[in-house]
């Protein structure tokens, strides 16, 4: 009986042999392989971005040997990461962090001081993440720098609603907003809607294969009692990233909302991070948002009205995107 029991244990332990038990070695090739494998098994946009992972592996691993220095290894690993062209993904070696700049190649000119001085009439109210005021008697202005404090957004809604019928348009500026908590983006989007409506879907990676995804999970607005009663103009530029792209994606195609400015920087997902054998940390996107029309926002949300600020006009105090929003 005991021998049978031990035999059973032996069998079960043998069954439990697992390739994850063997760790990658702390060599340049081992570190690179661990990073490549983590990206291959977890990054959610490999197919969307037509990334040939085998080719990337061959290209970059051939640049390394076991005698490569830490600097050389970091450079090669950084190049692999930057090829993902994803502003959420990063590589951190403890001293510096490498991240793809989604605003690279775009002017994305924006100056909040210029708006405060040249466009806002009367009092400028500033909270930690929100700057607000009136452009004229019928137009209110809110700039949100990050999606970090939902109470500030509620306060701004209350302030404008208390002004009653004088304000009929809100300009909601998310230019140079690098993102934050997606839940606050959802709450903010819900503030522009009268009732609960379908806003889009979230899909998560759920396996090692490039197309292993969960079923889409529907997202609805929150049906908030406290909401903006006015029409909205959402101002975007290429530096409107992550949660800003979520907001733009959720508000696209709404009758009372127009998006004005540049295509957003994208960033439609959350990241998970992973320790490499030498202690460096790499992070990749593992889920993504589709808007209500089923469109990816990873490469940015296109505006309804495309406007770009010019250096010349900004130099003389003119914000063309804001002017378009005032006139619309």
């Amino acid at each position: 009986m005991r021998i049978r029991f031990l035999s059973l244990l032996c069998l079960l332990f043998c069954m439990s042999c697992n390739e994850d038990f063997i760790s990658e070695k702390d060599t340049p090739i081992g570190v690179f392989n661990a990073m490549w494998q983590f990206i291959d098994e977890n990054y959610v946009f490999i197919d969307l971005k037509n990334l040939d992972m085998e080719e990337l592996k061959n290209t970059y691993s051939s640049q390394l040997s076991d005698s490569s220095s830490d600097d050389e290894l970091f450079q090669v690993c950084s190049n692999l990461l930057l090829d993902l062209k994803d502003g959420h993904c990063f590589l951190d070696n403890g001293n510096s962090t490498v991240r793809f700049d989604t605003g690279e190649g775009f002017n994305s000119l924006f100056d909040l001081e210029l708006i405060k001085q040249n466009y806002i009439q009367g009092e400028v109210i500033e909270y930690e993440y929100i700057t607000t005021g009136n452009i004229n008697e019928s137009t209110g202005y809110i700039h949100l720098s990050e999606f970090e404090n939902v109470d500030e957004i509620r306060k701004a809604i209350t302030d404008f609603n208390q002004l009653g019928s004088t304000i009929d348009k809100i300009i909601f500026d998310i230019r140079n907003n690098s993102g934050g908590d997606p839940q606050i983006a959802l709450t903010t989007a819900s503030s522009f809607m009268e009732r609960e409506i379908f806003l889009g879907q979230i899909i998560h990676k759920d396996g090692k294969a490039h197309d292993d995804f969960t079923d889409p999970i529907d997202i609805f607005s929150e049906g908030l009692p406290l909401r903006f009663e006015e029409d909205a103009r959402i101002l975007t530029n290429r530096n409107s990233f992550s949660a800003s792209s979520y907001l733009a994606g959720m508000l696209q195609h709404r009758d009372n909302v127009k998006i004005i400015g540049e295509t957003t920087g994208g960033g439609g997902g959350d990241v998970v991070s992973y320790e490499l054998p030498n202690g460096w940390v790499v992070a990749v996107t593992v889920n993504f948002f589709l808007d209500a029309m089923g469109t990816h926002i990873e490469n940015g949300v296109e505006p309804d009205i495309s406007v770009i600020n010019t250096i010349d006009n900004i130099a003389v105090g003119i914000d063309d995107i804001l002017v378009e929003a005032i006139n619309q």
Binding site: F21, N42, P182, D270, E275, V281, A283
Partner: protein
């Protein structure tokens, strides 16, 4: 690297079953202990390598022994910090409750069912912009436990020794989903928002039944006692092996040297 560990596991299991002879009968005992612990963990949800570190373990237990059966109840809390890098260190918190009801099957050999509720909660330091700052494995396990006791040393002042081992056979396990800190159940909600609505219920309901081939939690201990009247102390070496082998796997080895203060109440 794999085989030496497997060898240890087999040897400790073997010894726990076949070696030993005697310990005091008809005794209720209450004990409390605090000691250092050495732990090595590989959580593939966030690391590619084994990380080791030091910590402490605290125990509080009760047992009731007579000629026919042993009732054993112990709560245990382990805390360790693994890794030294400011971007890759992890704090492990590991509470565990164990209840065993052991029948005497042969002279000084006890064998019976074992119930354990425990968890390994892992908190990563230094990572701010990541969705997997925490990881966890929560288990509710039904298994087998055994102990064997004998006397060591001279016949004038023998040292009672007890060998213990336990192994879950069937477990209800709760793990995060493949790429998200919450369970698959949380993701299966029809209406999803980014907040933590229904998180607690989704975690409780989000477990899966696993058997020994995907979840192993072997505990092995060797304990030596000294008593003066009804007060005593013990020194116990405990080895725990934990592994979860589905999708993103988890491995852990823990060595503990536990100093325990014991109050006995002989019947």
């Amino acid at each position: 690297m794999y085989l030496p560990y497997m060898k240890n596991i087999f040897l400790t299991t073997f010894f726990s079953i076949f070696i030993g002879t005697a310990i005091a009968q008809n005794t209720n005992s209450l004990w409390i202990g605090l000691s250092p612990t050495v732990q090595t963990t590989k959580e593939t949800r966030y690391t590619s390598t084994f990380r080791s570190g030091l910590g402490y373990v605290g125990t509080l237990g009760y047992s009731s022994v007579n000629e026919k059966r042993t009732i054993f109840f112990e709560t245990e809390f382990t805390s360790t910090t693994l890794g030294s890098s400011n971007i890759s260190s992890t704090r492990n918190l590991q509470p565990n409750i164990q209840f065993s009801y052991l029948f005497q099957k042969a002279e000084k050999v006890n064998f019976g069912p074992d119930l354990q509720i425990g968890s390994l909660l892992q908190f990563r330091n230094g990572i701010t912009s990541s969705n997997n700052k925490i990881s966890y494995l929560i288990w509710n396990s039904l298994g087998l436990s055994m102990n064997k006791s004998f006397l060591l040393g001279s016949s004038e002042r023998p040292i009672p020794i007890i060998l213990t081992a336990s192994l879950p056979l069937l477990s209800y396990l709760i793990r995060p989903s493949y790429s998200f800190p919450f369970t698959d159940r949380f993701l299966e909600q029809e209406n999803y928002n980014f907040d933590l609505d229904n998180l607690s219920s989704s975690i409780i309901k989000g477990g899966k039944i696993r058997t020994l081939n995907s979840f192993i939690h072997l505990k092995f201990g060797v304990e030596a006692y000294r008593f003066k009247k009804n007060l005593g102390g013990s020194l116990k070496y405990q080895f725990n092996y934990l592994s979860y082998l589905k999708q993103k796997s988890l491995f852990q080895f823990t060595h503990q040297l536990i100093f325990t203060f014991i109050i006995n109440n002989r019947k």
